[in-house]
């Protein structure tokens, strides 16, 4: 048998994967618009969805909405749509950044939540939000999140070094998480607002509830910048599978790769965390599940994890919305329940391979 050698682009050769991931996201996105945001509330009908979008797209056309349809449209455009957009884009950011950090650090345990990047982003966001800075400058919250995430990522590299050993990396993550978590609590406790102290759970466990389009406009452009930056490092990440020296000999500029990934991770995760709080383990679960599907290619893993992350967060948010509980569960609780076992499994597997060597 003569092996087929295809001249293909970076994305080529995984047609079915892209098709299934994109359709999965379409279905989940559609469900996020149709289904109610709490159990016991009515779903929207497809015809209403269509009508509402047509009305929104062509406001000049002579649409006459009944008051009920107008309410449905308002709920769709001001509540469900921003929630769906944020679920997809935040999931995309977390999956993408997880996959890129794993490629850069050659470690399947690298994840923005575990490494403390997310909680440092949350610290930056809480500082700008509770200080009242955001009241005059709404952009300050995502920018604060990005600054926090950037400092944590740089700190991680200084603390754990370039070729980080798993234990060093995880310990550095624990240290950053502890510091950022403690300081976030401090910020909330020092706030003169009596409600602030109770809001630690939002920042640590994340939620997409009651977000509005203003949150989308604040965070999505910055996340997009982050995606472009991380995506530009794709081929470099592939070469990095051979180690830093060989990658350099193949024409990869390491300072450039680090800038692209650290900068991109800070932008995407910082902006995401600033509007939804920390949603953990997404960047761990998704690349882990998809790695063998993309034949372990660190470059193809990036878009795959982005789409997978979007699907996971959207699905988790739907579950949180529809679980019949007294109070809406924080989405990070759900991702932690799924993700922590993965984490244990990966640690156990790493230990086994370490023992074998």
């Amino acid at each position: 048998m003569t092996a087929q050698v295809k001249r293909s682009s970076l994305l080529g050769g995984h047609k079915w994967l892209w098709l299934s991931l994109v359709s999965l996201n379409l279905v989940l996105g559609w469900a996020a618009l149709i289904l109610p945001t709490a159990p016991g509330l009515p779903s929207m009908e497809n015809i209403q969805l269509l009508q509402a979008f047509s009305e929104a797209l062509f406001p000049s056309a002579d649409w006459r909405l009944t008051p009920l349809a107008a309410l449905e449209q308002q709920i769709l455009m001001e509540l469900k749509l921003p929630r769906a957009i944020l679920a997809l884009s935040v999931g995309c950011s977390l999956g993408l950044v997880g996959a890129s950090l794993q490629g850069l650090l050659h470690n399947p345990l690298a994840e923005p939540g575990i490494l403390g990047i997310s909680s440092a982003g949350a610290l930056g966001a809480t500082l700008t939000f509770y200080s009242g800075l955001a009241a005059t400058l709404p952009m300050a919250v995502p920018l604060g999140g990005i600054a926090g995430a950037a400092i944590a990522t740089l700190g991680l590299f200084l603390l754990a070094g370039r070729q980080a050993h798993t234990a060093t990396l995880i310990l550095a993550g624990i240290a950053i998480n502890a510091l950022a978590g403690g300081l976030t609590s401090l910020v909330l406790n020092l706030s003169p607002n009596p409600f602030a102290a109770m809001e630690i759970i939002f920042w640590q466990m994340g939620s997409l509830a009651d977000r509005s389009m203003s949150h989308v406009w604040l965070s999505l452009p910055l996340m997009l910048l982050g995606w472009v930056s991380v995506g530009a490092a794709a081929r470099s990440l592939r070469a990095l599978a051979l180690g830093e020296f060989t990658a350099r000999s193949l024409g990869i500029s390491m300072p450039m790769v680090r800038l692209q990934i650290i900068g991109g991770a800070a932008l995407a995760v910082g902006a995401a965390v600033a509007v939804t709080g920390v949603i953990g383990f997404v960047g761990l679960i998704v690349p882990h599940v998809l790695r063998s599907v993309v034949k372990q290619d660190p470059a193809v893993l990036l878009p795959a994890s982005a789409l997978g992350g979007a699907a996971l967060v959207t699905a988790a948010d739907l579950a949180v919305r529809l679980l019949p509980l007294q109070v809406e569960l924080k989405i990070g609780v759900l991702t932690a329940l799924i993700g922590a076992p993965f984490f244990f499994y990966l640690i156990a597997r790493q230990r086994n391979t370490a023992d074998a060597n």
Binding site: L325, Q326, E328
Partner: protein, 278 residues
């Protein structure tokens, strides 16, 4: 059911005119009754919350009094003649009061206008200020009667729905004082029309209340809880009024003022438009 146990009245050490000389209160609601009914020199201690205008309707009058944090240890050294406590006071507080054989009056939080008048009557009696208490009750009844007769004259059966909304999109449960005052003013609490385990923004929007009742205080420093009230789906949903939280956290004569305020809002909502009027 109202239950005020006046304990150990016999052992009260009373002054010349038959009043307890030094009275301490360990709860925001009893604070307010104490400040309203007692002579200023009778007040030994009130909670620090009673000095905060956000939570207390007697903040101004309370400024000069010694404060406590609601714990017995704060007032033990004052050796009060009488201690006013809430019926939900901590077990430790009760035990300490009993151990020292201090005269105690326990007041149940009022959830209706009738319970408010009962609480006033009991507190006034314990303070030896029965006349002041009766005058206060009479005034309340007169004000309420005036509102109700005006309502009767308007002769409208329209019962608009109203929703009390607090930060974090928490609404007030039925059976509470605010809910009772809403009904007294002729509103239907909107939540009764719709059953969800908890409220969220979509549920609020779907309730489509005629009136949204918000607090009048906004902290200078932001919180997510208060930010949720700014969500366009909530904020633009209905007519809004703001009620000063201190007026209905505790049952005081201010409750009548709240009914009056709600009545005004209802009149505006149900007023027939000029075209409909004969």
């Amino acid at each position: 059911m109202w239950r005020a146990s006046i304990l150990l009245i016999a052992s009260l050490s009373l002054n010349a005119v038959g009043q307890p000389a030094r009275v301490a209160s360990l709860n925001l609601c009893t604070d307010q009754l104490l400040v309203l009914l007692a002579d200023p020199n009778q007040v030994a201690s009130v909670t620090w919350l009673s000095q905060d205008s956000r939570t207390s309707s007697v903040a101004k009058q309370s400024q000069s009094f010694a404060t406590n944090t609601g714990r017995f240890s704060d007032i033990a050294h004052l050796q009060p003649d009488l201690v006013l406590i809430n019926s939900y006071a901590a077990a430790a507080t009760r035990q300490a009061l009993q151990a020292l054989k201090l005269a105690t009056v326990e007041i149940k939080p009022a959830a209706t206008v009738a319970e408010i008048t009962t609480n006033i009557r009991v507190t006034a009696m314990a303070l030896g200020q029965t006349e002041r208490g009766n005058a206060m009750i009479t005034q309340m009844e007169q004000d309420l009667a005036a509102i109700e007769s005006a309502q009767a004259k308007r002769n409208t059966n329209a019962q608009p729905s109203a929703l009390i909304l607090q930060p974090n999109i928490i609404t007030v449960s039925s059976g509470s004082l605010p809910s009772h005052l809403l009904i007294r003013a002729g509103f239907v609490p909107a939540l009764q029309k719709f059953s969800v385990g908890y409220t969220n923004t979509e549920a609020i929007a779907r309730l489509r209340p005629d009136l949204l009742i918000l607090g009048d205080h906004r902290n200078k420093y932001p919180s997510l809880a208060e930010q949720m009230l700014d969500h366009p789906l909530v904020n633009q949903a209905a007519a809004q009024i703001k009620i000063h939280a201190a007026d209905w956290i505790c049952g005081t004569p201010r409750a009548i003022a709240v009914i009056s305020q709600l009545d005004t809002a209802r009149r505006r909502l149900t007023a027939p438009s000029p075209a409909d009027s004969q």
